[in-house]
């Protein structure tokens, strides 16, 4: 049962990292009080403006959505890749390839359409 090993390793590593951070926290130089200037976010010397939810380029959002679509399409190809040799040994290789061809046509159409509609252009 490999899942036990995965969970064990997951918990062990988290505990290990937390322990290291704790030790570093204890051993590290203690400072009496952290001044506002010191704990301010890194900037080039000017006072920071208290506004974290800065506006982000919509391209990141678009990239994430396109990633989900294409990733799911790629995941659908995995079972086909796994069973392709079985299809060949049953002499149904061309049939399997044809079926996958339709799927791939949709994939390629999506990719071409995405490039044509300039969804991937970064200025």
């Amino acid at each position: 049962m490999p899942l036990g090993g995965v969970i064990f390793l997951f918990i062990f590593i988290s505990a290990f990292g937390a322990l290291l951070l704790f030790i570093a926290n204890r051993i590290g130089n203690r400072i009496k009080s952290v001044s506002d200037v010191k704990s301010a976010p890194y900037e080039c010397g000017i006072p920071g403006i208290d506004k974290k939810d800065t506006k982000i380029s919509v391209k990141f959002y678009l990239t994430a959505i396109l990633f989900i679509l294409f990733d799911i399409e790629i995941i659908f190809m995995y079972p086909w890749a796994l069973t392709f040799k079985d299809f060949i040994s049953n002499s149904m290789g061309w049939y399997s390839l044809l079926c996958m061809g339709f799927f791939l046509l949709v994939f390629i159409f999506g990719l071409v359409w995405e490039v044509k509609s300039k969804a991937l252009e970064w200025e």
Partner: protein, 385 residues
């Protein structure tokens, strides 16, 4: 993890050892990187502390430990501390699923007045039936630690760096996932053990009814899938945020990207995570394309090694340990060479611009991986490999 308490204990110790091995590899890699980059740039690099500067890392560790600690004013403390801890996880958990040598057999032995065994101990953390999917899935969890760091620091540089890094990682995940479909088509398996076993011996395949054998070349995936191997390796560079794809750090524009607010040990944990990613990418490349733990000389198969070990007079336990250690040496040398390749490339190629990076991932690598898949499928169908 095992059938009885001793086997569970052995497997647990093995997992801890694999993790510590990865953590220990990081100082050595950092040293190699600093010395190697120095020699590439005609400098000397760290050479004061200890022989050849090897003890520089201990000095660094002491320095890391004594750094003062605070959370930045606008940060979220929970996320800020969770991010470096979580950066450690994907590397080690994914690496443990990759076999590094043949299994060890342990004879019956006595402990606490009881007989235990015999056991078969795998030379990997755990064997997972769908290992390829598992490694891909786990290693993509690295995005979360980057996003946590970016948001938790409460700094715009961090946030922008984290967003860039995650957009880059997910873009190259497509090419990474698609470039191995060819390997899956050839092997018909998600299991690393079966994929590695298929790469044993000399290069031999059937092409339109003719059996072709090349006796001096190993039966490695890279000879069947050269384009897939190239795409996979490139995507590995992008996944681990290494130059030429280290847009997440981009010193010139973003100072240090998502870890700009981190220092001391927290920074070190991010380093371990990054090198862990390199190690996972390299070992997966080895398992899929470079024959796993098999020797590059097709004559030396595990069976031959077992035969020699038997001739030397070992029992079944000794034979399995002898074989596993020698095969692990082969795996280790390949891993070391690939890691050196990562470092070499870092100090040779300049950084991409962000739009070039995205163009390379979406408009070049994705179509090539797709073409590679289709051509592989048609060739397999025609030649009935």
């Amino acid at each position: 993890m095992g059938s009885d308490i001793v086997e569970i204990g052995i497997n647990g110790i093995k997992l801890v050892l694999i993790f510590l091995m990865m953590v220990q590899a990081v100082p050595i890699l950092v040293w190699v990187e600093r010395r190697g980059s120095a020699f590439i740039q005609n400098r000397l690099g760290p050479n004061r502390v200890g022989p050849l500067g090897l003890l520089q890392l201990l000095a660094d560790a002491v320095k890391f430990l004594t750094k003062e600690e605070f959370v930045p004013a606008k940060g979220v403390p929970f996320l800020y501390y969770m991010a470096p801890i979580f950066a450690l996880v994907p590397g080690a958990v994914a690496f443990s699923a990759i076999p590094m040598a043949t299994p060890l057999l342990i004879d019956r032995f006595e402990l606490f007045g009881q007989m235990w065994g015999p056991y078969t101990i795998l030379f990997q953390g755990y064997e997972i039936g769908v290992g390829v999917v598992f490694v891909l899935g786990i290693s993509s969890l690295a995005t979360y630690s980057i996003l946590m760091a970016g948001w938790g620091s409460g700094n715009k540089y961090s946030l922008l760096g984290a967003l860039r890094a995650s957009a880059q990682i997910i873009s190259y995940e497509l090419a990474l996932g698609l470039s191995i479909v060819g390997v899956l088509l050839l092997n018909g398996s998600f299991n690393f053990g079966e994929i590695i076993a298929a790469q044993q011996g000399p290069l031999a395949f059937t092409f339109i009814g003719h059996t072709v054998t090349v006796p001096f070349l190993p039966n490695w995936g890279v000879f069947y899938q050269p384009i897939g191997a190239l795409l996979f390796l490139t995507a590995c560079f992008a996944e681990s945020n290494r130059l030429p794809f280290d847009l997440a750090e981009g010193e010139a524009e973003l100072v240090a990207g998502f870890h700009v607010e981190y220092g001391g040990f927290k920074m070190l944990l991010f380093f371990i995570g990054e090198y862990g990613h390199m190690i996972v990418g390299s070992s997966m490349f080895i398992a899929l394309f470079l024959g796993g733990y098999h020797f590059p000389f097709p004559g030396i198969t595990p069976e031959v090694l077992r035969y020699y070990a038997t001739e030397l007079g070992y029992g079944p336990q000794g034979v399995s340990i002898f074989t596993a250690l020698i095969l692990f040496l082969s795996f280790f040398v390949k891993l070391a060479l690939l890691l050196w390749f990562f470092i070499w490339v870092r100090w040779t190629l300049p950084r991409f611009r962000y739009d070039q990076l995205m163009d390379l991932g979406w408009k070049t690598m994705l179509p090539w991986a797709l073409a590679n898949t289709i051509i592989t499928a048609i060739v397999i169908q025609i030649s009935k490999i």
